[in-house]
Amino acid sequence: MSFCRSPVRWLLAVTAIVLLAGCAAHPQWQLDDVQGHLPDLKFSMTNDLGQPVTAADYRGKVVLLYFGYTHCPDVCPLTLVHLHTVLQKMGKAADAVRVLFVTVDPARDTVPVLHQYVTAFDPRIVGLTGTQDAIAQLAKRYRSFYKPETPNDKAGDYDVTHSSAIYVFDQQGHARLLATPGSSNDEILHDLDILVGQSS
């Protein structure tokens, strides 16, 4: 009897090992896997404290890059609240994560305004600004799009149409995942937990 059953057990064990190895090598990402399709994180900008920063300053952190602007009262806050909620759920592990909010409206988003805006959502969100060129280059690098619209009222207020993607980079600055405002908190949380865990 045992002679008959053992090969079955052996086969099951091998299958389990293969499956587990497969899982470890290819995590079941819930966001879009963009590894190898987008360039490494690279920029030279000014943070919301007025200090010059480059991508090298964020090596060792999992970075979430998002383009937006402070005169965006609906979608940008919605995205930042999602990310704030995810960071809160991660607890201590969130120390290994930084959210970089790059303004696409540097004319209105001065360093102090940017600072007040991002810190109103979460202390782990960093505002980045720079010259029009620096911002345009960074957006182009990630095929992100933005365009200031014609002022829609007498006061000269204007909206900026912009890509809503959230680019996720690992601790080495490699582009790994792509999230959207439609991604659920649980999907983002699931994948960030894996990314943060991969280096520790």
């Binding site: 402070t70 609906d74 979608v75 806050p77 609240v81 909620t85 102090p112 305004v113 405002p181």
Partner: protein, 152 residues
């Protein structure tokens, strides 16, 4: 008709019209609002107002405008996510279906509140006036919530 009688007739018609328009303005709207809130933003940045507008009547109710004594500008907007791009568009009016409701919620319809006349802060209540096509007016207090609030 004598001049005096004609004048009296005119005055009466005028008074009736005035009374009718006051009645329409102050008529209790067949619409009510739930979960009205504003996401506060710092630096006097434009903020967004959200609410659920419920129509309790048998007919469609058309929201034609919103105003507030607290803001220089209130506009009905809609965010759209198309092919990964986020855009905002102005909305001329919003129809609330009979015995139905429309949600003004993050990522969709919202009130864009600009040029606050006094600083607005979390915890405040801000009055909003909803104007409907039938001339009715509904005043609702919106609760101001912190920037990172996820709802009312």
């Amino acid at each position: 008709m004598s001049l005096a009688l004609r004048n009296m007739f005119r005055t009466t018609v005028g008074a009736c019209l005035l009374a009718a328009s006051i009645a329409a303005m102050s008529a209790t709207p067949s619409v009510h609002v739930e979960q009205a809130w504003i996401r506060w933003l710092p630096a006097n940045l434009p903020a967004a107002g959200y609410a659920t507008i419920v129509n309790d009547s048998d007919g469609v109710q058309r929201l034609t405008g919103v105003s507030s004594p607290a803001y220089g500008s209130v506009m009905l907007h809609r965010s759209r996510l198309a092919q990964g791009d986020s855009t905002m568009e102005m909305v001329d009016h919003l129809d609330i279906p009979a015995h139905g409701s429309v949600k003004l919620a993050p990522g969709g319809y919202h009130l864009m509140l600009s040029h606050a006349k006094q600083p607005v802060k979390p915890g405040d209540k801000v009055p909003m006036r909803l104007h409907f096509a039938d001339g009715s007016l509904l005043q609702v207090d919106f609760s101001v919530r912190p920037a990172n609030a996820s709802g009312p």
